[in-house]
Amino acid sequence: MSDPADLTISEAGAAMRAGALTSVDLTEAVLQRARVTESELHAFLTLDQAGAKSAAEAADASLAAGDDAGPLHGIPIALKDNMCTKGIETTAASQILSGWVPPYNATVVDRLAAAGAVVVGKTNLDEFAMGSSTENSAYGTTRNPWDTDTVPGGSSGGSAAAVAAGSAMGGFGSDTGGSIRQPAALCGVVGLKPTYGLVSRYGLIAFASSLDQIGPFARSVDDAVVLLEAIAGFDIHDATSIRGEVPNFRGSLNEGVAGLKIGIVTELSTTGIDPEVKAAVSRTVDRLSDAGADVVDVSLPSCEYGLSAYYLIAPAECSANLARFDGVRFGHRAEGLTTEDMMAATRAEGFGPEVIRRILLGTYALSAGYYDAFYGQAQRVRTLIRRQFSAAYEDVDILVSPTSPTTAFPIGDRTADPIAMYYADVCTIPVNLTGDPGISVPVGLDSKGLPIGFQLMAPALGEERLLQVAKVVEDQAVFTDRAALATSEVAS
């Protein structure tokens, strides 16, 4: 391999342990890729070159001393900038947090440090993770490394783009309505939203607390497993964290799909899906069937209401969570003669339009006289969706659909139409409402050369089976293409 930045995590780990590669060299290759691509890509809000270098040196020293922290030891990774990093500015891509340096680490950040990972930087996102294109960042749009005139998806577009371009070997995002899986699909990488509660949310800047979940971006299913293993598990600091043993994620990873029953969710796979995406999904399903899976159609009619329920529940929770940004304790403060004037002015100045839109929407949906008709009803629809998914899993092992109705769309295409933007998440939202895990695996390119993602879903804590089938999808798709920006650098 010509450039270590293009290795998978397991390949790099093997090379390091064979003495053929150091973390310093690997990290330098990844940083070099970032230096070359960032002017076009803008995946990072903060690139911590000095911090990464010293972490890599420490990783090399401890490995040489026989202290091996595991598969992520010395591996350069990227974090979405809504995860608190002690001593490194954390903005959630919002003006209101401009310059804010957290006094503590998110649990995920501490766990990654314990696993020996090297943080190369903090990646761009839609402000407070609200968006599907990374265009809502207060600090400029990230571009898709496959075609820089298109969006990388969102909200975790920076992490997806960095992993696809080689400026990180793995990345982390948060997924509230598809914010890991949709950008993974649009950038041609693997993106996993774990079961709600499997990964601690402590230190993740909250958007919608009953939906938010942190998960990995990777260039292979195997790498996604390694990244998930490093962050999963109970955390005393998160009251919604699942107690008990962390499930084994790799027990059946190589067991194939023979004898498994896979359901295609009709409501997420037909209306409004781009014909090329539809064709790629049906090719993938055919291959699963050839590999011995029993593939059936599954109808989940309540999914049709998922988007509507989500756009009441998520804004309602966001309006409460973002009340804390008021110019008192952190970040930006505007002038005001009284505290209340100061708060209202601070919030008007500090929040971008999409965040204001969602706060207003949530405030309305929770306000007296409308609560039951909107928020209450959305919560009852959420119950119906959960029940239909549970019933489906009594019959099938895994549910599948496209990840995104379309491939990457042009920058600026949907910014004037919030509802068109919201439709980007129509396939990914249901499992945020149910709390179940979902993964996007790249399965091909459309005629424009843009990646297509295939979504797999499993019941809560069903990651082992989910990854097992994802691995078959990956093996059969033989998706070896790389983003234009990742390959052009090698030539330059």
């Binding site: 709600y196 756009y311 930006h332 306000s367 209450g376 119906l384 919030p418 409402l433």
Partner: protein, 96 residues
């Protein structure tokens, strides 16, 4: 069915100071989004309990261990204004 929104009241509840022009834009956008979101009302949900949270749990207990907290100086370092170990804000009541 068009949704009725008192946008000035909503903005005031949300503590966001918006101009009349901005209020008009948001009112229109919220109307369009809520017309879409209103579809949830088409589903019969009589007797269906609400789900506020995907993991069935009630209380999350932990041991009552005394641990350290963040140093006050570190926390105040991120604040726009502080004084004597407190966050400092403009007058809350009446005139200064």
């Amino acid at each position: 069915m068009p949704v009725e929104i008192d946008i000035a009241k909503v903005a005031s509840l949300a503590r966001i100071a918006l101009s009349a022009d901005e209020l008009r834009v948001y009112e229109e956008q919220l109307g369009a989004i809520l017309e879409h979101a209103e579809r949830v009302q088409q589903l019969p949900t009589e007797g269906i309990p609400p789900t506020s949270h995907p993991v069935p749990m009630t209380n999350a207990f932990r041991d009552d261990d005394v641990t350290g907290s963040l140093p006050v100086a570190d926390v105040l370092a991120g604040a726009p204004a502080s004084e004597d170990g407190y966050f400092r804000v403009p007058p809350v009541l009446g005139e200064s």
